[in-house]
Amino acid sequence: MRSQYDGGVCIVVPAYNEGRVLAGVISDLKRDGHQIIVVDDGSADATAEVAEGCGAFVLRHPINLGQGAALQTGIEFALARGAEVIVTFDADGQHRTADIVRLVEALHLHRADFALGSRFLGSAVNMPASRRILLRAAILFTRLTTGLALTDAHNGLRAMTRRGAQRIHLRQNRMAHATEILGQIAASGLKLVEVPVTIDYSRYSLAKGQRSGDLLVILLDLFARRLHP
């Protein structure tokens, strides 16, 4: 399925040791005709080779830096290549490629600079109760710290215009980037919309995803950034 707004859309896929599932994800994205940039974040497995084999353009971090750092690298490279719209897409197979079109169309329809996927407006298949609680806490935290009244937080599926992407400068290398990016979106003053998307939780994606203990690490990372701007 292609959108009438496909010109200049670049999909950034941060990947760390995703060799097992990446081929399926890239093939789906290629089938929809998107330009794909995979940022291999210093993987120890064949992530980069798999991505290249599937026809994605691969950026390789020489060392593992974290998902936030990989996203920023991908965004900067996509901007340098002249991308008009940048979509961030997780490598673990939990997103549906059909949602990309909805996000990109929402940018144009609402004249927004950011379109954020929301699993609570859409659906979350097989989401465990513990993950739901964790996400509710993240939504509340986002509201308190950024003022954004969102229905979802820490959703890796987002679209942004070139102008929006130029306002994003992620310095949180690891999971706290998901909160940091919302703070930067709020600070930019640019328009954002939420779009219903579907997240498919699998055993694999749950094992790779955030845990309740990560919440403390994220809070510490955000606090440390305040001390060291």
Partner: protein
């Protein structure tokens, strides 16, 4: 007297360190400096330390000084942690620059490889 001098010298060293660090980590620098100055004061006027300790419910003045020392140590740990984070920021910038430069070179050479084919086709 020997102990008081030794402690004062150590605390003076911390004041110098905190002064040098205040630009990089203002909060940690100022707190360390404040704690070190308070430490020197209490080392030389232990009666005040005892009075303060009683007020704070610590008991002995020497315990209060020990606690101040612990606080200073924790602040120095925090400062080291922040320095490590700053180093990580630099490493990230460097790694990103290498990654993008390398990718741009690959992209360029790939387009050069395709050039003759394009010409031949036209």
């Amino acid at each position: 007297m020997i102990m008081q001098t030794a402690l004062s010298l150590l605390l003076a060293g911390i004041i110098l360190y905190a002064w040098a660090e205040r630009r990089r980590s203002p909060l940690v620098g100022l707190l360390s400096m404040f704690a070190a100055i308070a430490g020197i004061y209490l080392v030389w006027i232990p009666a005040h330390a005892t009075a303060l300790a009683e007020m704070a419910g610590v008991g002995r003045g020497v315990d209060l000084i020990l606690y101040i020392w612990v606080v200073i140590s924790l602040l120095l740990f925090l400062n080291l942690h922040l320095k490590l984070r700053a180093q990580m920021d630099l490493i990230t910038t460097l790694a990103r620059a290498i990654t993008i430069a390398h990718a741009a070179r690959r992209s360029e050479s790939a387009s050069r490889l395709h050039e003759p084919e394009t010409r031949a086709a036209s």
